[in-house]
C-alpha cells in the first residue's frame, strides 16, 4: 500500500527527515512514536502534500504510484487521509457542505455518481453517531469554536465519511480524556479492514491499548531508530526514548 524509501525532507533548508524507510501493507496498522520535534508531523504533512516541505532524496510509492507527484486533493481522491494534529478552524465554511464537496469530488475521481443531499445526510448522521459528534456540530463552520476533543472527533467523523484506504492520524489522541479516546479508537477500529492501512502517530502508548498496532516504529531526530511489535510501545512507556535509542546503537 505505502512504500517510503530513504526519504529526506527539509524545511527552510533545515533537514528534518533523514532517511525514512517504511512499508505498510494493506490491512496493517503501523504506529509511529517519538518525542516532540522528532519529525512525526513532518512525515504526515509530506504524505498529505503540504507545501513548504522539500523532499531532497528518496521516494514514496502509494499503491504503486508516485505519491509525491500528486496534488493534495488528488491524494485524497486516491484514498489518502490525514487526521491533523491541530485541525484548523474555518469560520464561514460549513463542515457538512465542505465535506459534501470533498466526498463528491472523490467520488467523481473514482467514476462514481455524486451522492444526493438525502443520501449524504443519512450517511453523515450514521458516521457522526459513530464518533458521538453532535449533529449540530456537523453543520457548524469547520472546527470553529470546537473544543479540542470535538476537533479530534470531527477528524474521525470526516475520516469515516471519506473511507480512505490509507489513514494517517497525527496525534489524534492528544488532549483527549479516556472516554473521548475510546470513542476515537472505536471510529478508527471501525475502519480497519483488509483493504485499508493506517499510520497512527502518537506520543503516548495509551492510544495503542485501544488501537492495537501490527508494527511500531520509533522516530527520533528524523530517523526510525527501532521497529518492533506492539510490545515495543510498552517498552517505550517503561523505559523512555533515551533508553530505546541507546539500545538501538550497535
Amino acid at each position: 500500500m505505502l512504500k517510503i524509501e530513504d526519504l529526506h525532507v527539509e524545511v527552510d533548508g533545515k533537514p528534518i527527515l533523514k532517511g525514512i524507510n517504511l512499508e505498510i501493507e494493506a490491512g496493517q496498522v503501523h504506529a509511529i512514536m517519538g518525542p516532540n520535534g522528532s519529525g512525526k508531523s513532518t512525515l504526515a504533512y509530506v504524505l498529505a502534500g503540504r507545501e513548504g516541505y522539500e523532499v531532497t532524496k528518496g521516494s514514496v510509492l502509494y499503491k504503486g504510484q508516485d505519491l509525491l507527484e500528486m496534488a493534495p486533493e488528488t491524494r485524497a481522491a486516491e484514498g489518502v487521509f490525514l487526521g491533523f494534529q491541530y485541525p484548523v478552524a474555518i469560520p464561514g465554511v460549513s463542515n457538512i457542505y465542505f465535506l459534501k464537496a470533498a466526498l463528491n469530488a472523490i467520488r467523481k475521481h473514482r467514476g462514481e455518481d455524486p451522492l444526493d443531499a438525502i443520501d449524504f445526510m443519512k450517511l453523515s448522521k450514521k458516521k457522526a453517531a459513530l464518533v458521538q459528534l453532535p449533529d449540530e456540530l456537523t453543520k457548524r463552520s469547520v472546527n470553529d469554536g470546537f473544543s479540542g476533543g470535538e476537533k479530534k472527533r470531527n477528524e474521525i467523523y470526516q475520516m469515516a465519511m471519506l473511507e480512505p484506504s490509507l489513514a494517517v492520524l497525527d496525534e489524534t489522541d492528544s488532549g483527549l480524556d479516556i472516554d473521548a479516546l475510546k470513542v476515537v479508537a472505536r471510529g478508527v477500529n471501525g475502519l480497519r479492514g483488509p483493504d485499508r492501512a493506517m499510520l497512527v502517530i502518537t506520543h503516548y502508548q495509551r492510544l495503542l491499548d485501544y488501537i492495537v498496532p501490527d508494527v511500531v516504529h520509533v522516530l527520533i531526530n528524523g530517523q526510525i531508530v527501532r521497529t518492533g511489535d506492539k510490545d515495543l510501545a510498552k517498552q517505550l512507556e517503561r523505559e523512555g526514548y533515551s533508553e530505546v535509542r541507546s539500545a538501538s546503537q550497535p
Binding site: 485524497a76 465542505f98 465535506l99 464537496a101
Partner: protein, 405 residues
Amino acid sequence: MTEANRQTLLASLPTSFDLGPDWLQALRTQAAAALREQGLPTKRTEAWRFTPVRSLVDSEFSRDGDDVPTLLSALPEGVTVRGLAEVLRSQPELLHGRLDFGGPPAHFAALNTALFRDGLWIDVPAGSAVETPIEISHVSPSTSTPGVAYPRVLITAGENAELTLIETYAGGSAGQLSNSVVEVELGRNATMKHVRVHENAGLQIGRVDVRQDADSSYRSTVVTLGGALLRYDVRCLLQGKGAECQLDGAYLTDGDDHVDHHTLVEHQAPHCISGQTYRGIVSGKSTAVFDGVVIVHRDAQKTEAHQENRNLLLSDTATIHTKPHLEIDADDVICSHGATVGALDQDQLFYLRARGVPEDFALAMLTYAFVESIVDRVSHEPTRARMREALISRIPHGDEIREVT
C-alpha cells in the same frame, strides 16, 4: 439631446434659483455658492485623497436620465411614497428642515442639493410597523453619451415606526454618473433596516445621512459589486439617548475598479451603541478604500462603539487603503477599532484540499466565506438569498459553491 447639451458638473450650476419654496431656493443658492467657491474635491482634499474624481470634474455630462428611483415593490400598508417635486409644489412646509438636515453639504452632495429635480419621499408614520420591504432602484441609462443623474430620497419614520428599505443602484455604461443623496430621519424608538446594493458598472457617488432620535435603531448592509468609480459615504448622527446603529458592508472589486467606502458615526447623546463591520475582497488591479470615523462627543457618556474593516487581498496589483479611526471626547466609553489586510489562509486552504476539495473550489469557498457573514446579517430571507447569489456570481468558481450551500 445632443453633444451641445453636455456641460461640466460645475458649469451646469445655474446662476440663480427661482423655483420652489424660499427655503429650498436658499439651500440651493448656498450649495451652489459653496461649490463655486471651493470647487469639487481634488487629491489635496483630505476626505477625497484616495478617490480619483479628477476625470469627473473635467468631464462633460448631459442630463437626460431620470433622477427619480423607481419603486419596485407594491407599496406595503402604512407607507406613503410621494414625489419630492410634487410635495415641494403642493405642501412644501412638510419638507422644511428635512432636506440637508445635517448642515450645508459640500462637494458632490452640494451638487445634488443644487441640481436635483425630483425624488422620493418615503414616510412611515408613527406606530406603523411595516414588515414587507420597500424596494427602490435607480438604473443609470446605458447610452454612450456621458450623463449625470441626481437621485434624491428622503425617508421619515415616526415614533415606533419600523421599515426595511432595499435600494439598488444598477445599470450604467462607463460614462454614466449617479450622484445620489438619501436622507433618513428616525423618530423615537423607530427601526430601519437598510439594504443597499451597488451593481453599477459606471460612476457612482452616493451619500446616506441618518439622524436618529432616542432609542432608534438603524442597521445598514451595503453590498458593492465592483464599480469603475464608486464613492459611498454614510453618516449616522446619534442624537437621542439610547440610539444604535450598525453599519455593515461587503465589497468585491476586480479589474480596474475603484471602490471607496466612508463611514462617519457621531455619538452626540449618551448610551448609544454603534458598530461597523466592513469586509472586502480586492482583486485584479483594483483599489478599495475604507475610511471610517467614530466621533464621541463630550456628553456622550456610556458610548459603545466598535469598528472593524477586514480585507482579503487576492492579487499583487490590487491596492487597499484602510483607515478606521476614533475621536473620543468622553471618558466613560467602550470603543474598539481595527483593520486587517491579508491573503487567504494557507492552512485553511491545505485543510480543504487534503480532504479532497479541488484547489479552485477551495479558494472559492474561502473567498465566499470571508464576505458571507456580512450578508448573513440581512434578516429578510429573500433579500439575503439574492445578495448571496450576487456575491456567488462574482466569485471565481462561485458556481460550484452554489451547489453545496
